[in-house]
Subunit: 381 residues, 2 copies
């Protein structure tokens, strides 16, 4: 393929948006969420507060927060047709991210004409209902109806299990959702911006983002990091297991990050959250095992990949924390979407404000003046 | 808002892909489709031939074409859950593009694990089934099952009306679908590329593209151009009507194009196709009226906007041709999608081959070191 002048593969280094939502500083290992360093916000805010912050640029007052919580809570129940679709998908054992994408596209069915801010609330409120219902349907159980008296995060855990969560469990999930709420112009966020930039609707943009998040290159596959901990099984086996893996040239899932060169600030926040969760409600044996595996892995990575500074990343602690909350591995990425949706929507608001179509160019590298040939004259090429 | 250095609004002028699918040359008024000038291909190829050309880089031999037609024809029936969803959407009178996006997302429901080339066929084969079924359901009629003995285009017209179309009608629709099959890196095509570049699935990419195509800034709203012809009603009223509109500073829908400065090559091809269709099967009075309106509009535009060279664009003839085929205005954009899907999928194949994530950067323009404040201490901003 001849390289066309000007083609920028992957749009690497191109600045495609201006944002007030988050700043990812890989060199300094810093993540700012709408003005707040992640560690300042993630462990304190409810998910409703963080969502309000991203959409309005400031944390809500008590009056604003109460109104916002109430609006979201009322919007949680799904349209009948959405539930019917999820049941059909569960009968076919469709993977949860596909089911989430299908269901998300139908969320406007009982809404009539709604503007972007209204649909933003509808979609955000209903993502946990979709994921929890589908998780239960996949396992042959019936869906649990949302409880409007619970917070967004607590209600998600309630719909998953049928039991109200502890305060420690709710706090752990809030911290997780806040931690993954936004992360610069990642591929799913960019997909949402490209779609909404045509002045299409919020649902279309979010469905596109879910589709992009599904892709293995997007990152965010926390399952394998935990699988490794389970495979190791006991702290004394960690070193031999990991050493063999590294000798074979395999990657250790849950360590290292493309952008963060020093440390992943999200791993730090989630590590603290996981420790608190396990101390309060969890299986401390699993937690201790995971910490041993982590310590051994970081030490061995320094030995095998000197100078690379490969640290524990967000996926390692995500897996530990979500597992500690009782989630199946298959629901990890859909739960990531439940958090990230607030960021996707915030980016959509910014893009709508900017009001401009995103339309780069393609360089044509094909032929130009072929002549039509009737089908009977064509030969295999 | 302080302008961040390097931000490229709309990614204007940035080359984000290399393609062999189409070349849009606005200065010369030329459109190349996979090596063929549009006029060389559009009026001769069946839609199956054009689709094969875009996906494989060459026109099919007779054997290849027969196999491809047969495969597509067998895939046309929709999953039961998709039809149920369309019925629910019709009860709520959801607009057709929303219904198409919802239904498209569910097309893998009866397919199990399929790779990208297989899903490409499934989605392409089923788009006309969705649109025709939904058009009928919206009008309170029952869906017509696809007829596997008819070509892709003929079967779409059959499913819309319940009657097999004439050869002239089928040819007119083939020419239309071929004409809109690809057009560089427009916003919906770019959305599909961003999504598939994460190595997500074909369905996710196409659902994203449909969502982008919905947006008013995407272009492709052929309804209004025809509405104007109907409002004028008689050739002798064209000049006064159009002159008044121009005096009021209003835009004439169906004339002028952002990219094509000389003439829109698609308008030329569709103009010929429309004339043939109306001569064979159509309402020649409407055709003559439309031609009068066009002639008057182009003359008046030269008078009111000298030097701008505002010519008839693709939307004007699209509206005339699709109306001549008996389509409701509400189905014009979904029918556009039935053609463009072959291009979307061709771009997805190219992007998968390239194998690289599309991930530009955002410039952060917000604050950086805010301190957490408890909710009761916050004041309205």
């Amino acid at each position: 393929m001849n390289k066309q002048k000007g083609f920028i593969p992957g749009l690497e280094g191109v600045v495609a948006a201006q944002t007030r939502l988050s700043r990812v500083d890989g060199q300094r290992g810093e993540l700012i969420i709408a003005g707040y360093p992640l560690a300042e916000l993630a462990g304190k805010a409810t998910f409703e507060e963080t969502t309000f912050l991203l959409w309005h640029g400031c944390l809500p007052t008590q009056t604003e927060l109460t109104a916002f919580q109430t609006e979201l809570a009322q919007l949680r129940p799904l349209p009948g047709a959405t539930l019917t679709l999820l049941q059909a998908a569960a009968r076919k054992q469709i993977p949860p991210m596909d089911a989430l994408r299908m269901a998300a596209g139908t969320l406007s069915l009982d809404m009539g004409e709604r503007d972007a801010p209204q649909m933003a609330q509808v979609i955000t409120a209903r993502f946990p209902t979709i994921v929890a219902a589908y998780g239960r349907l996949l396992g042959g159980e019936t869906a649990v109806s949302p409880d409007p008296t619970l917070s967004h995060a607590a209600n998600y855990l309630y719909m998953l299990t049928g039991a109200a969560p502890s305060a420690a469990q709710t706090r752990a999930l809030e911290t997780y959702l806040n931690t993954v709420v936004d992360h610069g112009l990642n591929a799913s966020t960019f997909a949402a911006r490209v779609i909404i930039a045509t002045q299409s609707d919020m649902t279309s943009a979010i469905v596109g983002a879910v589709g992009a998040l599904k892709g293995p290159l997007h990152g965010g596959a926390p399952g394998p990091a935990l699988d490794m901990v389970f495979e190791i099984g006991a702290a004394e086996r960690a070193e031999s297991y990991l050493r063999e893996k590294l000798e074979r040239g395999e990657r250790l899932m849950g360590f290292g990050h493309r952008v963060y060169k020093v440390r992943d600030p999200r791993a730090e926040v989630l590590g603290i959250a996981a420790e608190r969760l396990f101390a309060a409600d969890g299986d401390m044996a699993l937690y201790s095992l995971a910490k041993s595996v982590e310590k051994t892995a970081v030490a061995l990575l320094a030995e095998y990949k000197p100078g690379r500074n490969l640290q524990t990343n967000v996926e390692f602690y995500t897996a530990l924390l979500l597992h500690g909350l009782g989630l199946e591995t298959a629901l990890f990425t859909p739960t990531f979407a439940i958090g990230r949706i607030a960021g996707w929507i915030g980016h959509c608001f910014e893009q709508l404000e900017n009001g401009r179509l995103i339309r780069p160019k393609a360089a044509y590298i094909g032929k130009t003046h072929l002549k039509w040939q009737a089908v009977e004259l064509r030969t295999s090429q």
